[in-house]
Symmetry: C2
Subunit: 417 residues, 2 copies
């Protein structure tokens, strides 16, 4: 007997037919003797509908009321799944975030889970009852409803698995696992059997949107065994094995590759400030006001000084924050002392990720050489212990991903198409 | 300064534009120095959508989960109205049923309000904050969500007004008050300035669907001053006076009419059991199994005995319960001892209602004579202290309503059309 958490996304909950199919899959796990807690998303499209209502009501909506409104989508699907489970003979009940409770911070709209009280839940599971829990929601001190930010149901599922000391956390999605790169770009991309938390975290943060980044960080911290698998059934009503997200120590030797995956991200914009005074404090004058405005700066390049006393500074921000960044920088123009502000949204960030990098030199060199041979110009570089990212012109995105996928030996032996 | 409850129905909450208009109306009351609690319905059509989801998921849905699903509609509108109020500069917050809490029985799907904790609410109102409360919902012991049955938001509003000792409870609807009869049938129907609780209760229970019957009973018991008025604004953004529902002692002499209103109801079906054994216990044998099945029997007529030992028994049940009633009666056939079961859904119940009846004889005689003159056959009769109802053939409904409206002197002097 195992204790498992199963999480189903919005596509799986879109309509009663699909909810019935989810109920059938849960029944298999129950009949296999497992204790099951299920975390559900709202029906596909529903959260967008509710968010739009709030925006229509006021562009400056109160995030506490926004949470009341948008958390209702998961309330609906959790009640319906409980009904569908009972209809196939599985004992089940729904538990709202405030009923358990799932305690969170009071950061409405993007709250963080602080603690999950599992006493009532544990008793229900031990009695053989399936618990259906709406993802994305919790309750702050003072009993106000909170939500965890878009994609937050992944985090709900991982937090639930950690609190219940579950044996696994199965995340059912509309992709069937984590791939070496986007299969729409590289048909020979391979599904990974295993990937480490650290790699998944880097992949999620640079654009491979399988899981909410925060859920991966939480899984790593709490050592939750997460499996990503397809919500579409195979012939005998089960799922193909997906991708297991594990600690580095669980990787088998055979799986130790230099590079695990190639990711791309078109959601950054580049800003260049020209002729910034090259003096102590000028860099702080640029980045402090951006940080104060809550804008996340990623890649930073400081060019060699023009003459003796000025230099160009280039960096990237999320495209969604570009307009605000320009505003903030122009307001601080005098203090920074730049001549011109240029910006460019037609850039793309390409990242190679792999824990193998720790023990192998030359990963970055291979990357630069491979891109250089194709005439792809590198505009900025950033690295972490297990990742190298470069900024290139957006039009070269697919080409860059393909040549790097081949260069690091990631292509499947046969084209599956 | 007064403390008031305002209740808005589904039509008033159908879309952000209308919610904004509701917010503007609430603002007028706040600016007039009143403390305001608002009770809201779900957007028009939303509760039906959610109920259908539950039915699709299982015809034998768990009512506890049904309550989780359908209560979400009011959760959404209460959050949105709080946002819309803030947008026009009115301090406001939503309070879910479980947050106050509104304690109810555990009769899921049609729970009864047991107690409303007004401590937090009272403090909020005193501070000048508008409280927005989702109608229709509460919480049972054990912290499970409950709902009060269709139309339950009226009851929520009256219960809230009673608990808060509000000076009035204004119910905004898509009609602008209570009329002497259905204006679609009688264009000369008049809007009543005042109607007593007892009259409103009889009118609501016989088909004048302005308010949920239960809300009127509660208003009477708790002496809540209820006003029914239009949710459509007049030229200067206010509402015309509607109908005030008051205690009999508040009626002014001028208003003391014999008859207050004429109602009709086409939702009953007639059942006749022929040749029932005319012996002690046979009537109990008919009505006990129906009562056990929760079926509400209304009018009952026992005909004169055929021969010495048998009689026909005629009675009405809600049309929605007809099929089940037939089933129950056939199962008890042997014990009851009837020969034949006939049924007829083409019947209509016409009621004249008025507290004036208490002090005037001859009301029933006028009714019978007026209908008889038009050749309308009376199939059954039932009376209360302030009501006479007759069952007639459905096709005569409108004719009967019109001639009675004239006979009791209810026609307006001029045709408003």
């Amino acid at each position: 007997m195992a204790r498992i958490v199963m999480k189903f996304g919005g596509t799986s909950m879109a309509g009663i037919e699909r909810i019935r199919s989810v109920a059938a899959r849960i029944k298999r796990e129950v009949e296999a003797g497992n204790e099951v807690a299920v975390v559900v998303s709202a029906m596909a499209g529903e959260t967008d509908r509710l968010v739009n209502f709030c925006r229509e009501a006021s562009s400056l909506y109160d995030r506490r009321e926004y949470d009341v409104v948008v958390s209702s989508g998961e309330q609906v699907t959790s009640g319906l799944l409980a009904i569908a489970l009972q209809a196939v003979g599985v004992r089940a009940r729904s538990w709202m975030g405030w009923q358990l409770p799932i305690r969170t911070s009071d950061g409405h709209g993007s709250a963080r889970i602080a603690e999950i009280d599992t006493r009532a839940l544990g008793a229900a599971l031990s009695s053989g009852e399936v618990a259906v829990i709406p993802g994305f929601q919790g309750v702050a001190m003072g009993e106000r409803v909170t939500t965890l930010g878009r994609g937050g149901s992944d985090t709900s599922a991982v937090a639930m698995a950690a609190a219940m000391q579950a044996d696994r956390c199965d995340i059912y999605t509309d992709v069937d696992g984590v791939y070496t790169t986007d299969p729409r770009i590289v048909p020979r991309a391979r599904k990974l059997k295993r990937v480490t938390y650290e790699e998944m975290l880097e992949l999620a943060s640079v654009g491979a949107k399988v899981l909410q980044t925060r859920s991966v960080g939480l899984a790593m911290k709490e050592k939750v065994r997460v499996q990503v698998l397809s919500s579409f059934l195979d012939e005998d009503g089960g799922s193909e094995p997906g991708t297991l997200i594990v600690g580095e120590e669980e990787l088998e030797n055979m799986e130790q590759q230099l590079i695990t995956g190639i990711a791309h991200d078109k959601n950054d914009a580049k800003i260049t400030l020209t002729a910034v005074l090259d003096q102590p404090g000028s860099v702080a004058a640029i980045f402090s006001p951006l940080a104060d405005a809550g804008i996340n700066v990623d890649m930073i390049v400081q060019n060699v000084a023009h003459s003796g006393d000025s230099t160009d500074v280039t960096f990237t921000v999320p495209t969604a924050d570009l307009a605000r960044s320009i505003e903030v920088l122009n307001a601080a123009r005098e203090r920074i002392g730049f001549i011109d502000l240029k910006h460019d949204t037609r850039v793309s960030k390409i990242s190679v990720v792999g824990v193998g990098m720790r023990s192998h030199a030359g990963v970055a060199a291979t990357m630069f050489q491979t891109l250089g041979e194709r005439g792809i110009n590198i505009q900025a570089i950033t690295t972490s212990e297990i990742k190298v990212s470069v900024l290139i012109e957006e039009d070269y995105t697919e080409l860059a991903v393909r040549v790097l996928h081949t260069a690091y030996g990631l292509d499947a032996e046969e084209d599956p198409a």
